[in-house]
Amino acid sequence: MWCPDWPTVAMGVDDTEPAAVFSSDRVVACTAAARSHGVHRTQRRRAAQGCCPGLLVIERDLTREFRAFETVIAVLTRFTPRIEVVRPGVCAVPALGPSRYFGGDEELVARVHKTVEVEACCRAGIADGIFAATLAARTAQTPQVVPVGHSAEFLASHTIESLERPELTDVLVRLGLRTLGSFAQLDIADVIGRFGTVGVVAHRLANGLAEHPLDTVRPDPNLSVSIEMEPPIERVDQAAFLARSMAEELRTSLEAGGTTCTAIAVEVETEHGEQISRLWRNESGFGVAAIVDRVRWQLDGWMNGPVRTRPTGGLVRLVLIPDELVATTGRQLGFWGGETEADTRAQRGIARIEGLMSPEAVTMAVWNGGRHGDEFRLVPAHSIDFDDRKVTREAHTPWPGGLPAPMPSRVYLTTAASTRRRSDRCEVTLLDGQGNEVAVTGRGFLSAEPASLAIAGRPPRSVQFWAGPWLVEERWWDRDEYQRLARVQLVVDGNDAHVVRRQDGRWLLEADYR
């Protein structure tokens, strides 16, 4: 079952309006109107805006997508209790049981389609595996059924790009293998030899098989992790905090067995006995952060969803049940790489502080580049992948016009936008020997030698050494970001060093060397 352009639908955008949802500067989804202008997935933002100047740019919000998708899942639960959520917009249902009950595959898929269509525009397909079924849903306007055992034939004519593994398909296209059928005909031994595990998985998919061979042994029920909450908890972030330690526990026990889980069931129960259980699937395996995200999404969709399905009491029980295990392959090296005990503790601490304050209150640095003390930008810690992270200055990207080293240890003003927006920016008074304000001339000189500096209400201190003005004029092509300023470096009485800037006819304190 596939809902087209779900990220835009979840954002409440009308399909006739050109809009696109972006994640890290790439299009992840766009409306039909935008598509008719030539916008497509994986396009860069600037290119997309070039195709369609009136494009509405939306930042991706996975939580919201899942919350919206919860209504669709709720409808599907009328057909079968076992629903696997692959990603927002796509979910899978094992069809064997329901189709017998509803009288055949055709009948089932038509019913599902009709029922879900009430909630959202959707397409449905039935085939032997999730991959083939998704393709079946995507390629036809009306519900499509691929007969049992004919998935390989159905897939054969599709392009190799449908695998969505660009690093592999690029090579295959260059080898002349343009369809799934031609790739499927290769001998499995050759595929292993040439492309390794990634190739084997792709080969299985192209042959209409599941990504991993079916394991007839159910995972050990003792592997599931559960927690009883006393007193009941009311908030999603509290539950997510508990889920993190549970996920850690689960990971440890799975790792001991050399396995990783590709499907996990999350069950929650409230004090009034209401239950919700969802099965989440991720073919590349779940890491701790991924499990916590699923718990958060599931609870958010339930607790903040439509009033009629919302739970009436606090949560008392949370269970994580691994539903499908596969052997850990090479690409799944631990979940966070070679981390130490200190890393684990710190990451847990970050989650806890986020819960106490807000997710945006805890930040970490990433390289950004800039000339206003914003060489390193702060981003919310929860959006950071801690795996093998290294934050250093990228020496190959020079920023002429930046301050010379050593850098100031406190920076009050960074980008142009922050200069205008920040209410707590600190105005200073820079006077010459006669008590007149020092100005910067049109030719880029100071009108007089600075003699005293007074920082926001504090008594003036005499300037001992100074240099400047250093002029910066940047982003003339962008009205909001454009700025023109002159900087002066000063050492005042008492040997305190400051950088002040002249901008829009005022002197502002930019940075301190504390």
Binding site: I350, L356, A361, M364, P406, Y513
Partner: protein, 269 residues
């Protein structure tokens, strides 16, 4: 150009308290304190001292940051001193969190060598949440730095101190008149003077800074000693002043300092 007006504030110390080359601990004294510290720690007793960069060893009573201890950093170069103390620990895989100072210069920290991938910043918590947030930080990070701003004290100071000792965290406060946990810090590092090089009148740019840091530690019987450091020197490196014969400003030797300084002052005036 070298005004060391504040340098004389060091002079109010009795000369025999000023010990060249840092801590006045004899080798025996140092060993005893180490053993004591190790015995007191219940958590992570294998590593009672977090190492710092070699030039900073002279600042600290045990030659490193003792787990479970509290420090107070004050004076005009407190932020740079804090970064300098973080360099070695973060590079060795320790995590640090800074609470309440979102305006710290990350570039300055990176240039000194702080591993930013293990530095977390937390916004100023609301006044009522300070103690809870601090409690969470102490449990999770090896080094907790707080910049309390206008907050003078947080509730439950005694519990926080106990938690610091129990978890083996190092708690540092940046600036502020007194520690927010309601009791004097075990070690107090005060930058008593600083002197900039490289900036002239209308020319040049700041290039190097020499600071004098006074240490007062409860462990060494409230004795004070001073250390001079390049923070950083012309090459952007943290270096102790006495290491090099070219550095005439031997921080501990105040008399010699004043004597050397005299011709400079004449020159400037």
């Amino acid at each position: 150009m070298f005004d060391t007006g504040e340098m004389r504030s060091v002079g109010d110390l009795v000369p025999n308290e000023l010990v060249p080359n840092g801590p006045a601990l004899t080798e025996v004294g140092r060993g005893e304190s180490l053993r004591l510290a190790t015995e007191q720690l219940s958590v992570r007793a294998d590593e009672a001292i977090i190492e710092v960069s070699p030039p900073l060893e002279a600042l600290l009573p045990l030659g490193g940051l003792q787990r479970g201890s509290t420090l107070h950093l004050k004076g005009p170069a407190s932020h740079t001193l804090m970064f300098s103390l973080l360099v070695e620990p973060t590079q060795q895989g320790k995590w640090a969190v800074v609470v309440g100072a979102a305006d710290i210069g990350l570039s300055a920290a990176a240039d000194l060598g702080v591993a930013l991938e293990r530095l977390v910043l937390v916004d100023q918590p609301p006044r009522s949440a300070w103690a809870t947030v601090l409690g969470a930080c102490i449990g999770a990070f090896d080094l907790v730095i707080i910049a309390p701003g206008s907050v003078n004290s947080v509730g439950g100071g005694r519990r926080l101190r106990a938690r610091v000792r129990e978890r083996g965290t190092v708690l540092l406060q940046l600036d502020g008149s007194s520690p927010v946990w309601g009791e004097g810090a075990e070690t107090e590092l005060t930058v008593t003077s600083q002197r900039w090089d490289g900036l002239g009148v209308g020319h040049g740019h700041l290039s190097a800074r020499q600071v004098t840091v006074a240490t007062r530690s409860r462990r060494s019987g409230a004795r004070r000693w001073v250390t001079s450091l390049w923070m950083p020197d012309q090459d952007g490196v943290l270096r102790s002043v006495t290491e090099n014969a070219d550095d005439v400003y031997a921080g501990a030797d105040v008399d010699r300092l004043l004597e050397l300084e005299a011709p400079f002052r004449e020159h400037v005036s």
